[in-house]
Symmetry: C2
Subunit: 146 residues, 2 copies
């Protein structure tokens, strides 16, 4: 509810030439406040739970605009729906470990891997724009349980 946070998000939106609507602000605030990787439906339900009136269509459309402007990132874990994470400031790219049992997502960054990616691109005269590296498997918690 912080007015300061609202104000800041309004500015972020305007800097990117998007109208600062209550729906978009609520959406950004939600993503800012979580470490989870929500899908569109979850975002929709969370916003509703918080008494924000918003429609599914708006959630999808907002996420699209925000992703285009790199304010959020689309994540595809291969299970048929897109997930979204807020692009915290201008921090470094990270990749994901995804637990196939509990769905937990662990973020990681590996400099050497990034370097290898660039070298692969050079070898193939390929100009990279983005990349995704997902490792699927079993997390430590789930190993204990099983």
């Amino acid at each position: 509810m912080s007015a300061a946070e609202n104000q800041q998000l309004k500015e972020v939106l305007r800097e990117h030439e998007l109208k600062a609507t209550t729906q978009r602000i609520a959406l950004l605030k939600l993503l800012d406040a979580t470490n989870e990787h929500f899908d569109a439906e979850e975002i929709y339900l969370e916003l509703r739970k918080k008494q924000k009136n918003v429609s599914r269509a708006t959630v999808y459309r907002s996420l699209e605009s925000l992703a285009e402007l790199d304010l959020v990132t689309r994540l595809d874990f291969g299970d048929g729906r897109m997930r979204f994470e807020r692009n915290k400031d201008e921090d470094e790219h990270h990749d994901h470990l995804i637990c196939e049992e509990c769905g937990k997502v662990i973020e990681f960054f590996n400099l050497e891997m990034e370097a290898q990616q660039l070298s692969v691109c050079e070898e193939n005269d390929f100009t990279p724009s983005t990349h995704t590296m997902h490792i699927f498997g079993t997390c430590s918690d789930c190993k204990k349980t099983s």
Copy 2:
């Protein structure tokens, strides 16, 4: 049309405890013969074009069984449909460079990258099963054109 190829594919299927149906043989033969990364609909249309009678449901079901047995690999390039490639013999895992302009897919293998992945998994006490590494960007041909 080679009877020898048919025979070989029949055996492959049987070794994996799948009935060697004409549909599955045609599907495998198609994937064997191409370097493209077809999606289910494309596979369906290609088979129809070749006068093979097969239904969409069978394409999906066959691809599922074949993927489970590692005879084909599912590829998710994040555009909302799964693509498939034949798992040539028992060769090494490879990753993909995907041209965002022409859709071309270049396969690569990088030993150092695979090693880094394992080390990331260890650091996080994570047991990997599979991974995907996709680099999106512009291929050399498309760079020339633009």
